[in-house]
C-alpha cells in the first residue's frame, strides 16, 4: 500500500503462484503493474500491507530485523537496472561488500571474489575503479556481487535496461549460465518480452494482478493455491499473498 489517505493505492492485489525447483521466473508487466513491488516483497525489502511472505516456514513479516538482514546477506543476490556499483571503489571492493556484510574472513573473501570475477570474466579488472568500467562490465560486476555469497535466490531488476541489445544479450546469457551452474533460483523483473521468453515461467502482471502465465518445458507454475516459490536449494516455500 502506497501513499496516504485518498491517494492510497495497492500496488499488488491478489498475486498467487508456485514455482518449482531451480526455475527461472520472469515477472513482466508495464511500469506501474506492481512487478518491482513484488520483487521487493520477495527480497524482504518491502512489506505487504496484507498477506505474508514465508521462508523456511518462517514468515518474513515476523522476522526480526536482524534475521531479515541475515536472510538478505546470505540467501539473496541483487542485480539492478542501474548497476548500483560504487564508482570510487575497485571491482574487488565492490564484489567483496556482501562478503564483508556476511563477515567472511579476509583470506576466504579474496578467493571467493576471484572466483566470482572469473565467472563473469572480469578477473583482469579486479583492481580497476568501477567508474572506469563500461556499462556491460559494470553489470557483470553487479552480477559477480550478486552471486558472490552463493545465494539461493538471485533477484534481477531490469538487468538489461541500461545496456545496448548486444551487451544485454551477453549479460542475460551469463545470468542463465550462472543460474544453471549454481542451481539458484532466478527471479527477473522485466518489460522485455524476448528476455522473459527465456525464463521457465513468465508471470504477467497488470494493475497488481496476474493476467497470464506462460510455461515452457517441464517446469510448471501452479496457481491453484496461494503463492509459493520453491527452490531445491532453498528447500522452502516463499509465499506471497497480496
Amino acid at each position: 500500500m502506497y501513499g496516504k489517505k485518498d491517494n492510497a493505492f495497492s500496488a499488488l492485489k491478489s498475486v498467487s503462484f508456485k514455482v518449482p525447483d531451480k526455475a527461472s521466473l520472469a515477472i513482466i508487466g508495464k511500469s506501474g503493474s506492481g512487478k518491482s513491488t513484488l520483487m521487493h516483497i520477495i527480497g524482504g525489502l518491502d512489506h505487504p500491507t496484507e498477506g505474508e511472505v514465508i521462508v523456511n516456514g518462517q514468515s518474513l513479516e515476523k522476522l526480526k530485523r536482524k534475521a531479515m538482514d541475515k536472510f538478505r546477506a546470505n540467501d539473496l543476490g541483487f542485480v539492478f537496472q542501474s548497476f548500483f556499483v560504487e564508482g570510487n571503489q575497485t571491482t574487488y571492493q565492490n564484489v567483496a561488500l556482501p562478503l564483508e556484510i556476511a563477515e567472511v574472513s579476509v583470506r576466504k573473501r579474496k578467493q571467493i571474489v576471484r572466483e566470482a570475477l572469473e565467472q563473469v570474466e572480469l578477473s583482469d579488472k579486479i583492481n580497476s575503479k568501477a567508474k572506469n568500467l563500461s556499462g556491460g562490465q559494470k553489470q557483470r560486476l553487479a552480477i559477480a556481487r550478486a552471486i558472490v555469497n552463493t545465494p539461493k535466490l538471485i533477484m534481477a531488476d531490469e538487468p538489461t535496461g541500461n545496456l545496448d541489445s548486444a551487451t544485454g544479450d551477453k549479460i542475460v546469457d551469463l545470468l542463465f549460465d550462472l543460474q544453471k551452474k549454481t542451481g539458484s533460483m532466478l527471479v527477473m523483473v522485466t518489460h522485455d518480452s524476448d528476455l522473459a521468453a527465456r525464463c521457465d515461467i513468465q508471470i504477467s502482471l497488470k494493475d497488481g494482478e496476474i493476467v497470464s502465465v506462460k510455461e515452457k518445458g517441464s517446469k510448471k507454475a501452479d496457481l491453484s493455491t496461494s503463492v509459493e516459490m520453491t527452490s531445491g536449494r532453498l528447500a522452502d516455500k516463499v509465499k506471497v499473498q497480496g
Partner: protein, 425 residues
Amino acid sequence: MKVTDTIKRSGRNLRAAKLRTLLTALAISVGGFTLTVTLAASAGAHMYTNNLVKANFDPKAVFVAKDKNYFSNSNGDTPQAYTSDLATGRGGTLQKELTSQDITKIKALPHVTQVLPTYNLSAQFVTRPDSTAKYTGSINVYDSAQKPSIKAGQLPDDLTNGEVLLPDAYLKPLKFSSAQAALGQSVVIQVRQLSGKTLAKTYGVVAVTTKSSLSLDFNAVGPYVSADEAGQLNSFINGGTVLANLVPTAIVRADSTLSADQLKAEITKAGFQARTAQDLEQFIGQIVNVLGVIIAVFGLITLVASFFGVVNTQYISVLERTREIGLMKALGMSRRTVSRLFMIEATWIGFIGAALGAGIAIIAGTLLNPWISKKINFGNQHLLIFKPAQIIALIIFLMLITTIAGLLPARKAAKLDPIEALRTE
C-alpha cells in the same frame, strides 16, 4: 559486518572525498591546534614558574612576616587598631613588622638554624674611592643558600664584614674595564640618616654578580653585603627611630629534621605569618592556570563551531550517498553497521583534524620556541612544552567529540528505507 571492515570501509569512503574530508578536518584542527598550544603553554608556564621559584626561593626556607595582610593583598578598607609594632615611618600601608624580640623568639624555636632579616635598605650612593661617579643602589643581604649567578670571582659561603658582591650593572658606571678587573678593588657605600648624617664604608669586591633570566627583581639593583653588615647599616640609617628595631620580613631556616612545611607550622604556631617556596609556586601556578583556562575556553568555542561543521558534512554525505546506503541495506547490512560506518567516518575526521592541529602546533611551536623565549625573557627555557600523554588524550577527546557529532547523521543513514534509497537516482 566486522568492526575492522567497517573501519576500513569508512576510511575508504573518506579517501574517496578527500577535499571534503580535509576541509572538515581543518575545522577540527583549529580547535586541536588551540588546545595543543594551550596545554603546551600551560605546561611550559608551570615549569617556568617552578624554575623561577626554585631559582629565587630556597625550598627549605620559610618567609616570615608579622602582619596577616603581608602575604595577602587585602590592604583593608577599615583602619587598623594601633599597636606599637606598626612600622610607622615607612609610608604606605602601615603593617606590623618583626621586632628584634620577635627575631629572638623565632631564633629560639626548636631546630631553627638561621634567621635572616631583610632590611629594605637603600644606599645614598655607591662609588669608588677618589671617584666622582656616584650611583644609587639598594643594599641587599647575601643569602648563601640562594646564591646569585656570578660573572667573575668566587662566591664565598658567607661574606665577612667589609666584603661586597658587585652586580655587573655597576661595572661600566664605576669605570671598571671588566668584571675580572673589579675583583679585589674597593667600592664605597654611603648611607644617610633622615637627619642628614652620613656614613661611608669601604668594601672589597669578592665577586661580580649577574642577572640570570630566572632572577626576579624584588629589590632595585645594588651590592650584596653580609647580614651582619646590613644590620649595622640599618642601625645607622634608622638609628633613633622606631624602624631601628623593625624588619619587614625574615627568611628562616631549620635543620634537616624539619621540612619547610613543618617549620612553617612551628612559626605560625608562634604567632607569625609564614610562607614556603611551595606556597608561592602554587600562588603563581594559580594565575597561570586561570590564563590557561581562558585560552582553553576559546579553543572549546572553536570546537563547538567545528562540531556543527562535522554534523553538517556528515549529514550532506548521508544525503549524497542515499543510494549507496540503500544498496548496502539491500545486501543485508544491519542498521547498526550502517550507523557505525558513518560514526567511524566522523571519528576518522576527528582523528585527522586533531592530529593535523596537534602536528602543526608541535612543528610551529618547536620552531618558534627559541624566538618566543627570547621575546619574553625565558632564557633557555621554552614556553611551549608538548607532553605526548596530553596530546594523545587531546586527540582521543576530539575523536570523541566528532563521533558524537556523527551520531545524528548516522542515525539518519541507519533509518533510511532501502527501497526509497534505491529509487534515488
